[in-house]
Symmetry: D2
Subunit: 344 residues, 4 copies
């Protein structure tokens, strides 16, 4: 049984990860850690308190000694990216394997990384970065198996990359024409900190775009898909729901094609990718079927003249978009069945 | 045409009041005032910008001179109660009529007022208080007509008082048994300031009680209905909706009765109260029919043995529970038709 | 005071129209009509019952005689399009002016009309159609003034047309590249009839696309904007909200431009169009600011290289997208101020 | 590994049960059965399709032969109560163990059963009924272990009974005064069939009471708690959420008491009941902490004078209120750890 710890377990992704690990047959209940000594009310995960003896799962202040004392082997970081930048080097040095849910180590291209304004750019950080593997098993399964540091992908990029990669690899998309991803996310994607923009009365019965052309997840999409900024228009919107991301993706085919060619491309690439579900037209994915799962559902519609395509892909932003993918990565890292603890 | 000003127009009640006054046939567009010089983005009510010339309605920093310069006659305060306590004395001295939407001047009983911890209790405040009229036209229409200071009622008390007063006056309710009001409110009742408790992801798909036995609106209910604290159990809950308050009120009848006697009591008291709609059993009020109106809907169900009653009453907390009632009070104060600007 | 009647007042658009007409200073309360004798519970609009005397507004079974008896001059049809097709010819013959909220008379191009499968196509219908004016005052104000039959626009086309027309007229958009409108609507747009797709538990916490490339509103957009089907990709999604439509529109500029040129084009076209609000970048419209209004808000973001544009436009689908625009058309038809009854 | 089947797997409770069984370590994936041959689209549970080989879980038309062929030992019925009444006798005869989620076999008292208007009342049905065990492990664990037929409790009664039973057993509640349960449920409790009352636009931003004094779950509460109809006022309301039931329960104590006595009573009764979480005042349960779990959370507030109590209890209506409790019953029936498959 694997011993793991979670830093940042009071956020939405950290809570979801705790839930998934409690249910996982190959890990002991995770050690929950807080970056700071906090108010007593936050010292326990009350949503999760153990039914066995009526006590709640405690949250300990973080210390390296505590990790050692509990023989922790795998460290999950559900922390702000600055924290991940600061802690990962020491964690690696101490021999821990790390799955980092933040954006700290996802981007190799310094141009794309600029948006994060990391204060520690330099040779030392580059050395860590060179060991980081972008944690999307469907793309990098082999490297993940042996990696010490997994950069768990962002929620928006996950579905967009999984939907587009097959057709891009097969050269079906007219890149001169460009690709548009009109993406929509639930509110847990914005984190737990209260703000005017996440106030219930400002979100409910409302809908709005934000971060058009500028969202910091853009770089991940470009880097993984090997596109230029001009080839990809990426916009994001806030949905009045708790969980889920759906992207409507528009592009032109290089030449007229039928549904069969699109489907063949998707199925070929995703053969063996057990969490990718491909829908036959005219059925399109919807958020309710991926909520509380690790699935990524992909469908599309072809225009009457056979040139224009609208793809629809969706995930649970806390599932495949964060905690679920982190568990999937763990399963790959330890050679377990990739679906362990992630079904049902 | 009456000239009025609103202080606190950026909150939910202030915005609703602005909307209602813009639509009112007997007032000029209100002067919008802010208590402090704020960030430029808040300097205009963008939801409301004037369609006539495409400009937005400006929000001016408050000053007594500005009120004078604009010949303001009526001042609406949609401000925290401390602000209302501080400003009302001078406003009265300057000859302004005031409708105060806060809890500053609602309670004559010092025991009930204690919950507000006013720092200015004393002879001067008592003098102001003695001139304040509890602004519920259905109860105090005559005094409102001539009042200089209207204490606009709280949202929770409004519906509870309007539903119970008729039966209490007629002695139908068994007070030894006590009354329970299980009240539920939408999120705009909690104000616009972001907090963990109003974060979308903590409210949506959630429901919770708060403030049981201790809510500061309790005193208003007791004072107006002339009940003792032991006779009234008042609890409040947060609904995952934007607007509306519904209270389920339980009591025993002093003696067995039929629906006809209950209905007669309600209709007798509310004859001429044009915003009170009384429902025949088995139909019960629901929030959607009062949303964006000034109506207070009242219905009830009698138990099979004819002793127990569940009443249901509801209002829009920003309408009859705040801005709508403020406009209704204005209509009474100036001798206009009570429904002016409040229909449709 | 104008005398008008509404057929179909129990649907969402019909209810909103009733509310707006009750508030309008130049019309008497509308006569509410039902197409069929229905169950007694539906015989009155209980949301709206008159506060003056406590009675509800009755709904009468439709008859031409009743219209005559009440001296009705203007007939609003909030009916299915088949009903509008059947009734309008007689209404015109009887000298009534008609504002039809259905899709019955909006499309002159028979190819676009085919989607409705009208059973009465032919010379008689063509004669009626030739007298119909597409009821968008911002485009056809002069013809509306004198029209006997107004085809009130569909909800989706309204905002898309108002946003794109200025830039298309000015030749700013690269039509070879095509335009994409990713549109999202609240549930009242789907009508009041219960279905699996509008069940609360299938909509709440969900989001999905439907009707991609095939929505029957597509023809209206193409016809008014004079585009070919290949030039316009139109997709629609269901938002878990009650009211509102927001469209994210993507296109390339014919040549690189700045925000100033886009804004100039919009302001030039919409000068005098009092319900169109144009936002400066980086501010973008959001649904909450148009809810319960007749405004259409338009904004945009320009890509860093100055070639790609994402426009955002939104309306209340029951306001400017249906009942509000119907009242605006009435105001134009009778020479009243276009904002009469539509402000606040 | 246990072999089980579910009839009615397309409803909300049936889907949740399928999910839980897929995740359960001691059962093979359940056989999904439909009562009738249905449209092809319904022939598979698409939310659940197997990630292993990309196929969906098929739904077979029901037949006894199919059960036999698959060696089914345990049958879950998530069917309307009439269907359960018709099928259970044969199932028992064929030696199957049955967990019935409907109200068919929950009530021994014929007066309470009358509300269901069963057409098959008589000696044969009585014989079946005498073998049915009310499936609430916290009350009837021993009988459940050996039962062939489990009547899985209703969603509303589950939390109300679990909250009140300890204090009633200990004689703390003043029964002359009566008990009030003001209960609120999410929409999945109303089933999947579309109706006006579950239309998104009629539920969202709305709240309403229904079934006051008459809800058919009342009998279960009275029978299990051994109360008379006059001692219990039970009202239900519809919350604009998908999942969850919260009840606010009001009563007087027989004599003044402190929080310690109430807590002691609850903890004594529920010692060993691993899904009951008892909250210290002033913390009260809220729905979000039980959503997607099998927990029942219980808390309370005592009035200042120590006589009146408001208890708050809540569950997930599809979890502990239906499918979760069914799995818990299965765990008890087969001697497994009661939490198996229900944690995380």
């Amino acid at each position: 049984m694997l011993r793991s710890a979670i830093v940042g377990s009071t956020g939405y992704a950290g809570l979801e990860l705790t839930r998934l690990l409690l249910r996982h047959p190959r890990v002991v209940p995770p050690l929950l850690l807080s970056r700071e000594s906090q108010a007593s009310e936050d010292q326990e995960r009350r949503e999760l308190f153990s039914p066995v003896d009526g006590t709640m799962i405690p949250i300990h202040p973080f210390s390296w000694d505590l990790l050692k004392k509990h023989d922790i082997e795998l460290l999950f970081l559900a922390t702000p990216h600055e924290v991940s930048r600061a802690w990962v080097p020491e964690a690696l040095e101490r021999g821990l394997r790390v799955v980092d849910l933040s954006g700290a180590w996802r981007l190799q291209n310094p141009d794309y990384r600029a948006v994060y304004k990391f204060s520690d750019e330099g040779a030392a950080a580059d050395a860590v970065l060179s060991r980081a593997v972008f944690g999307m098993p469907e793309l990098h399964r082999e490297q993940i198996r042996d990696a010490q540091l997994i950069a768990n992908p962002g929620c928006y990029p996950t579905a967009v990359i999984l939907a587009l990669m097959p057709l891009l690899r097969d050269g079906l998309i007219d890149l001169d024409h460009g690709i548009i991803s009109d993406s929509k996310s639930g509110v847990t994607g914005a984190g737990k900190k209260p703000s005017q923009g996440t106030h219930f009365a400002e979100v409910s019965e409302n809908f709005r775009a934000y971060g058009v052309f500028t969202h910091r997840h853009t770089g991940e999409i470009l880097e993984q898909l090997e596109l230029t900024p001009e080839q990809m228009t990426f916009s994001v919107h806030l949905l009045p729901i708790r969980r889920g991301i759906l992207s409507s993706i528009y592009f032109h085919l290089r030449q007229k094609a039928g549904n069969a060619e699109i489907e063949a491309s998707l199925r070929r690439f995703h053969a063996g990718n057990c969490f990718i579900r491909i829908f036959h037209p005219p059925r399109l994915p919807e958020l309710q079927h991926v909520a509380y799962t690790n699935f990524c559902d992909v469908g599309w519609t072809l225009s009457p003249e056979g040139k224009r395509v609208m793809m629809v892909c969706c995930i649970d932003n806390l599932g495949k978009g964060a905690a679920g993918q982190a568990v999937q990565n763990m399963n790959v890292m330890y050679g377990w069945d990739e679906t362990e603890g992630l079904i049902g």
